[in-house]
């Protein structure tokens, strides 16, 4: 018998993903347009590749084993990335238009990503960028509807199982004040310093729930607060001294505002890149995804180090 290689073969993974979704070998085979024995052989081969059983068969239904459940999301991500690499190979020579639609949460500063976009546009002169901005739920909606192929945002809190995410970096929350504010220039601040301050709250920040819980736990009441709906407005009002704000400090460009770490505040947010499982990534999206994944964002360096750096 001509044995197949035990390196991970893409069509084996594709068949397994179909079984994972349908939990039925007949329907999975139909979906993949193959005969069921061929699908069964491929699953067996994948089991050799991974070194364990993936399925338990019970009459018509199949169940995933513990290994099968563990491997499914990982194989799905790898398969999508490999499929994207294949698309690159097919389309790279044509030099045609390279449309790319990205959604970025309005709490994420674009400045951090402009060098990446610059390089992307150098390498793909046909790049046609569509940049969407929105709150966490709007960003999730852009992905769901296919308006955006890729998104960069804080935690989206979406239970949608097709949403794939990989972490880029973490950034601590800190206090921002105008340069003329009485706290400006301080090395650190404490919650008691904020007792007499008016707080500016961005109600559409991805981590508003966590922030509110943290404020409440530290005796800061929201009764003395202004509410805004975009990060841009929040920063404008901080600058105009209408109040102070607690935001992810990587979320702002250094436009003259003062950043001050707050003692006792351990709130950190993780910014991730999001894609939708099973959606085809065009060449620009695939390249951007790889660049974002590969770049050194300082992930794993911990919030402490970053808090020092932003002083």
């Amino acid at each position: 018998m001509n044995r197949e290689g035990s390196s991970l073969e893409m069509h084996h993974i594709r068949y397994f993903l179909a079984v994972g979704e349908t939990l039925n070998l007949t329907r999975a085979a139909e979906r993949c347009n193959v005969a069921q024995p061929a699908l069964t052989r491929a699953i067996k081969a994948l089991e050799t590749e991974l070194g364990g059983e993936l399925l338990r068969r019970e009459r018509a239904l199949s169940h995933l084993t513990e290994l099968g459940q563990r491997m499914l999301p990982m194989l799905r991500q790898c398969y999508d990335t490999a499929l994207a690499a294949k698309m690159v190979a097919a389309s790279i020579r044509k030099g045609e238009a390279a449309p790319l639609s990205v959604a970025v949460s309005h709490t994420v500063a674009l400045g951090r990503f402009t060098p990446t976009l610059q390089e992307l546009s150098r390498a793909l002169p046909g790049l046609q960028l569509k940049l969407h901005r929105g709150s966490g739920s709007e960003v999730a909606e852009y992905l769901r509807l296919g308006t955006a192929e890729l998104a960069i945002a804080g935690p989206l809190g979406e239970p949608w199982s097709r949403l794939d995410s990989l972490p880029l970096f973490e950034e601590p929350f800190g206090l921002v004040v105008s340069p003329t504010h009485r706290l400006a220039g301080r090395d650190t601040a404490e919650f008691k310093d904020l007792a007499s301050e008016t707080l500016l709250i961005n109600t559409r920040c991805e981590m508003i729930g966590e922030l509110r819980a943290c404020l409440e736990a530290n005796g800061i009441l929201e009764t003395a607060a202004h509410q805004v709906a975009t990060q841009e407005d929040l920063l404008a009002l901080v600058k105009a001294d209408l109040g102070v704000a607690i935001i992810p400090v990587g979320a702002m460009e250094t436009n003259g505002l003062n950043r001050i770490p707050i003692k006792q505040l351990n709130l950190v947010r993780r910014v991730s890149v999001y894609t939708v499982a099973g959606r085809r990534r065009a060449i620009a999206c695939s390249a951007l995804f790889n660049m974002l994944r590969a770049a050194d964002w300082g992930f794993n360096t911990g919030a402490k180090q970053q808090a020092r750096a932003c002083r």
């Binding site: 035990s6 893409m10 991974l50 790898c78 490999a82 690159v88 990446t116 390498a123």
Partner: protein
Amino acid sequence: MTEPKLTDKLEDSFARCRALDAPLADRLQAFADELRRLVPSFAAAVDTLVSRLAESNAGATAPKVGEPMPAFLLPDEQGRLVRLEDFLGKGPVALAFNRGHWCPYCRININALARAEEEIAAEHRHIAAIVPDRQKFAMWLKSDAKAPFPVLMDMDNGYAMTLGLAIYVGDELKHMMVTSGWDPSVSQGTDDWMLPIPATFIIGTDGIVRARFVDPDYRMRMAIEDMLAALRSAT
């Protein structure tokens, strides 16, 4: 005090093996022997994986001599996007898939490639390494090996998988690697535990594979003399 990790204990042996004035195969073998002497159980687990892979012909479906090498667009260690065509416009290229900055065999291999690059740079022949590591680690690997050539980053082994070169490490070896101090999940930025089978492809300016070396035993790499000969005869 925590017990020093195997990787720390091995650093001296590693440095000695890498510095050997000997063919690449001997330097790799010297390190493999040292590892086997120090931790026979680890070497045995590696043998099991390698024989499983070899038995089932892993990597056999990768592009063969006479076949076209699929195009890619990958960031290099500086974050610049590079195409296969960019190399081919300058001359034949050797593409060397490696496992990562943490792998001692890859560090020896890339160091040997760096020495070879000096010989052929003037002849319009080039080398590029490909690893599934993130930027910081790809940069480290490049400077550790004193490599003048780019180290391309194939995140999540996407390109390697299209070539049939991606493998899953498996639970047993994964556990042993972590306790020994070899943990690719940090440099890969994912907990997939997938690695490429180390492989070297020599590609002519027409994009056709002129020579290849694929061995699921990651302790084996293409001999530098073979690579140079193939690069020199390629057009």
